[in-house]
Amino acid sequence: MTATVAHLHEETDAPYALSHLDALESEAVHIFREVAGEFEKPVVLFSGGKDSIVMLHLALKAFAPAPVPFTLLHVDTGHNFPEVLDYRDRAVAKHNLRLHVASVQEYIDAGKLRERPDGVRNPLQTVPLTEAIQSLKFDAVFGGGRRDEEKARAKERVFSLRDEFSQWDPRRQRPELWQLYNGRHAPGEHVRVFPLSNWTELDVWQYIAREGIELPEIYFAHEREVFQRNGMWLTAGEWGGPKEGETTETRLIRYRTVGDMSCTGAVDSDATTLDAVITEIAASRLTERGATRADDKMSEAAMEDRKREGYF
């Protein structure tokens, strides 16, 4: 350790430090622009959930004052929360974007997918997703996945090469060095891109608060008819709940994640503001997925197995 280094610290650390949110934002914007610069036909997976809403916000900032140079893709399970679909459509209209929808219900109606006995549709998204990517010839697909969500996702690269079957092979990933992302791929292959890789759930909420980003109302505490299944509060609805023996009750709840209604659980909460939500998450002893996702509890490697098949 030399005097020179200490001198540099004094001179430059304070005036040129970046807050952690600024650093994460800068990194994510860099990733969006890399993809815009290197790929022919990128698409942003957009569900109307908080992570994809933050992705859209970052993309808008990355290319301002020009429009976002990507289209959006939503895999609609057929069991989405109406408030979220409404938000999705308003966002698309507001920013004059183009939205592709891949519909699980259409696949079921056409006999190309079969409803599972438990009615959970999240795993059924993989086929419509991968077929949409192939048929629309997307070569880069942005996902809102974060490495803090799940232990298989902790191993995911920012640029994740998928083969012509959209498969993820965790043992054959490219090392990712510095900020030099390698997006080379053969025709038919594509790259999944995760600009929020290094964000945590708390970072996402703090960023939403800082930027004043609007969210679907289901993220904030409200009274709702719910029933209990496998230890989770699920919203009653036409998707197949409650079944016989399951009783509904009105509870004050909110959602931490947004997904298919059949497997996305609500948490008891009185957090009606962004600050209250952030306080609640900072004190929570449960992970986002552990608290609210039934499909991740199916087996120890449920996420890894679905990702291998092409799930996001």
């Binding site: 610290h9 815009a36 020009a66 232990k151 090392p175 510095w178 945590t200 992970t287």
Partner: protein
């Protein structure tokens, strides 16, 4: 340090905290998992449902105690083999700082993983077992940290409880390591005596080592300065993307989007665009929607110039007063990260900042053995996990800095044009920061050109 459970009271402060990226390195039985586990656990980053899942799986397997390695080993293959095969990134926070931890496997054959983790790290923690002292693997980790020019290195002397918390044991290991790493040019070394298992000096100060007056591991992580290396250097701005709205509202807007790789950019500054050499003046800087007079690394911004000159992705904007030279002959150290070898004569792609060019490997003058820093002349090729010197000729000129001056503009990838595989991680210029390192190694009979 304040635990995250108290964060609710400090929401405003929380958004203003800084981010530290660090990597851990240690041999298989040095207690790296325990140290990582304790940092995560004591910062509230291991949550109830994750612990329950670990307890459930451990019990199903008939194990008496929860196997905490299951927290970090996320892949089926890792759990089956009981080893970590790939870098994983983990996240935790205190009220003072947020952390991104690159948890890198310690196996010899995974040198590339430590290189991957260290490439973005502000700090590396090298773990040593107090009973064994500095071993080959420790020197290898120090060498990788020095090669990648990680600004801060922490030597964590672990298992102090097994050597009676003896100051003399710690002092001699710290002295040996510091001498070795300083010779390699590691700029800052902090040695901390710990017991990850008992919790001494990881988060809480140890009651067993009154003789130690320094910080705990977490205190050090919370207070070590970050980013100074980026802003102290001359400004470098690789152009990623040209923003031209061509809308009624912005008919003439033409901005160059990118992330400032190093240094500081100011409105009014005279700049040169490379490789063309054209000059202009910064007319405006848009920092993601806000017009600013000054911006610095690693901010993503959009720069507007006073003159309408031809600039595209891959160009570099730099202050005219300190613009880099361009070259087509790259002399560098590379870490080979692919399974297929890299041979003399190979035609490759070279990705430097936002520019990808064709290149030929002209020479591989030497291969480095990290164990003892000995070098083997003209190996002909490099295979997985090898580190070697290369001379590469590029088809177009590059505005390449020495890696010693900028990790961002001195680094590059070699890519296989046939299948897109990332072959090697390159660092331009000298390998190690210190000439003393070269002298130390040259002491033996063979020459040393690293």
């Amino acid at each position: 340090m304040t635990s995250t459970t108290e964060q609710g009271a400090h929401l405003a402060d929380l958004a203003a905290t800084t981010l530290l990226r660090f990597a851990t390195a240690g041999s298989v039985d040095d207690g790296k998992s325990t140290l990582v586990g304790r940092l995560l656990h004591d910062s509230k980053s291991v949550l109830t449902d994750q612990l329950e899942a670990v307890e459930r799986v451990s019990a199903d397997r008939g194990q008496d105690a929860p196997d905490l390695a299951l927290l970090t080993d996320g892949l089926r293959a890792e759990r089956e083999q009981g080893i970590t095969i790939d870098v994983a990134y983990r996240y935790f926070a205190t009220t003072r700082r947020r952390f991104i931890l690159a948890d890198t496997p310690g196996h010899v054959q995974y040198t590339r993983n430590m290189v991957t983790g260290a490439s973005t790290a502000d700090l590396a923690v090298v773990l040593v077992d107090a009973r064994n002292g500095v071993i080959e693997q420790t020197r290898r980790h120090a060498a990788v940290a020095a090669l990648l020019r990680v600004p801060h290195v922490v030597l964590a002397v672990n298992k102090m409880d097994l050597v009676g918390y003896e100051e003399s044991v710690f002092a001699s290991i710290a002295e040996e390591f510091t001498a070795y790493a300083s010779d390699l040019g590691v700029p800052e070394i902090t040695a901390i005596p710990i017991s990850a298992l008992a919790g001494d000096n990881v988060v809480e100060p140890s009651a067993h080592m009154d003789w130690y007056g320094g910080p705990t591991v977490l205190e050090h992580l919370e207070t070590v300065p970050v980013s100074h290396d980026l802003t102290a250097c001359p400004a470098r701005f690789p152009v990623q993307y040209v923003i031209r709205p061509q809308t009624a509202e912005h008919p003439d807007y033409r901005g160059y989007a990118g992330q400032i790789a190093s240094g500081v950019l100011r409105v009014g500054e005279a700049v040169t665009v490379l490789p063309s050499g054209r000059t202009s003046v910064i007319a405006g800087i848009d920092a993601l929607g806000q017009s600013v007079d000054i911006a610095w690394a690693p901010q993503s911004v959009t720069v507007r110039l006073a003159d309408d000159i031809d600039i595209s992705r891959g160009d570099l904007i730099a202050p005219s007063a300190s613009a880099p030279a361009t070259t087509q002959d790259v002399v560098a150290t590379v870490c080979h990260v692919a399974d297929q070898p890299l041979a003399v004569g190979a035609r490759v792609l070279l990705k430097h900042t936002t520019r990808t060019v064709k290149a030929i490997v002209k020479e591989i003058p030497s291969r480095l053995t990290l164990d003892d820093l000995s070098q083997h002349p003209n190996p002909g090729q490099l295979v997985a996990n090898d580190i070697g010197r290369v001379v590469v000729r590029t088809a177009e000129p590059l505005a390449l800095d020495a890696y010693a001056d900028s990790r961002r503009t001195g680094s590059f990838l070699l890519i296989d044009p046939a299948d897109g595989t990332t072959l090697a991680a390159g660092m331009a210029g000298e390998s190690f920061a210190s000439k003393a390192a070269e002298r130390a190694v040259q002491g033996d009979d063979e020459g040393w050109d690293f």
